[in-house]
Symmetry: C2
Subunit: 303 residues, 2 copies
């Protein structure tokens, strides 16, 4: 992130990531007798990693509605537990078979496959425990809504469904006429969880439906912009900067926005989506400036 | 189940299993375009299988407190989704590497490993969606308590932790002095979810703590009795009757109650635990007769 251009965003994201690290560190169990490896793998998979974009969305969205920071960070941690579990399972040999993640060996490489499967299961389970706890919000209706929405966003009709389509997509050829299919895939695989992140702040703050609709419009465009940028990084980045293997999509003959549209048209589309995303935030005035900066950042980032 | 000896129990269990089948059948998604395999695998993993002992516990416990059947079945379905996901993941090549389950090819054999991992993730996620829904109970505090308790019972400090210990246990030799370690393993791996099943009925019925304590005593002993009986079946049963591969523990040099105590002492212990389990139910009078029958049944079953 260029400090000059994104100074305020960079500071806010760094602060969120640092706070979230403390929250996750306290939240995830430490070693216990025989299941020590499980706890170690859970911590390895979640701590000290990533830009924490989803928790940042929760925290920023929550701040629009005056939600206590502690509540926002707990919801942000729950989303990050889901995101991290999905990375652990996606990296498995039977799935994407990746050896490198955030510049470190993946969980099944550092531990073993069984530990990676179980650590993913435990992180997924813990996300719902965190949301249902009264430490997250005093109102149990709010907590139930968080659980329901996170489950929908991350289950068979959300993230897991998207991952399934993605695995199948490697086996079929898609052309430009299938841009709708790719859009749907990405909407499920990454979009729904990004959307939940912003909705979580609104749910915690019991925001009116106008505000929730505006955030939904924002994350819809942000999610797609983010994914196109990710596809571009896969084509144009190098592993050292990006922190994971690149050129994978092409090697696998996998259809992406970039393979279908070409790099130039894809970049234009990402930029257009980032502008569109920001435009949805009008009703929040300058309180949403960091969310606007984020939309710009996701399409210009180099990792 | 010998019809003569367990007539009432057999009828009640069959009715529960049949009703639960309908509930699960409506609950688990059917085919959708590209993610059809995921939905098919979720249904394959959950429908038409098992004795549904955990849902039976939920339904019976709920009936002690006058809970609506619909609520009990939804909670029972949530527990069964967790149980079924755990079987799918445990059967994976990186874990127990089993080809046969309930007399059918395991999910990763019938579909593939990636689909099995994702189907397990989706079932796990759906369990919490089911509990958080207002169709399960009108009071959101009750729903949050169900989510919290199920997460604790099935996560790193419950079922998943137990599975981790179990995988490690195959690599070390345990002797009789380690009966405490095996007990702890089984308590986590199978006991916590069995306990949650009975507690779920009490939570739905807002039962007093005396009733909850009694049920906890019952499931504590029932769970261990069930596990010892399972170990005995592994040693003495044949695959055709039991519906899954047998003699596995010995082949793997895995310490079990039977390998440590010997078959005869293990059977005595299981019977003693079954009696003890029933003794905890005194305060429910004859309303708990089916739960008492169940304790007897789990130590005499042949599959």
């Amino acid at each position: 992130m260029g400090k000059s251009e994104y100074g305020a965003l960079a500071d806010a994201m760094a602060r969120t990531a640092e706070n979230l690290e403390t929250v996750l560190d306290r939240m995830i169990p430490t070693d216990q007798a025989a299941e020590r490896d499980l706890m170690d793998a859970m911590r390895y998979a979640t701590l000290d990693g990533g830009k924490r974009i989803r928790p940042f969305l929760v925290v920023q969205s929550a701040s629009l509605f005056g939600v206590a920071e502690n509540a926002a960070y707990r919801a942000g941690a729950a989303v990050e537990l889901i995101h991290c579990y999905s990375l652990v399972h996606d990296d498995l040999p039977a799935m994407d078979d990746d050896a490198l993640r955030r510049g470190k060996p993946t969980v099944h490489k550092h531990f073993d496959e069984a530990t990676a499967i179980l650590a993913g299961d435990a992180l997924l389970t813990q996300a719902f425990e965190v949301l249902a706890s009264d430490a997250t919000h005093s109102n149990p209706s709010v907590r139930c809504e968080l659980v329901t929405e996170l489950a929908k966003a991350s289950g068979a009709h959300g993230m897991v469904g998207g991952q399934m389509i993605d695995l199948k997509a490697e086996k079929v050829d898609l052309d430009e006429s299938d841009i709708g299919a790719i859009t749907r895939l990405q909407r499920l695989k990454t979009g729904r969880l990004i959307d939940f992140s912003a909705q979580a702040g609104a749910i915690l703050g019991r925001a009116p439906s106008s505000a929730r609709d505006a955030l939904r419009g924002y994350t819809h465009d942000l999610g797609l912009a983010f994914q196109i940028a990710d596809d571009l990084l896969d084509v144009e980045g190098d592993a050292a900067t990006v922190g994971k293997a690149t050129k994978k999509d092409a090697e696998r003959g996998k259809a992406t926005f970039v393979s279908i549209l070409g790099a130039e048209k894809a970049r234009d589309q990402a930029n257009r989506l980032a502008d569109q995303a920001s435009a949805h935030l009008k009703l929040f005035g300058d309180k949403a400036d960091l969310l606007r900066d984020l939309a710009r950042f996701v399409v210009t980032r180099s990792h």
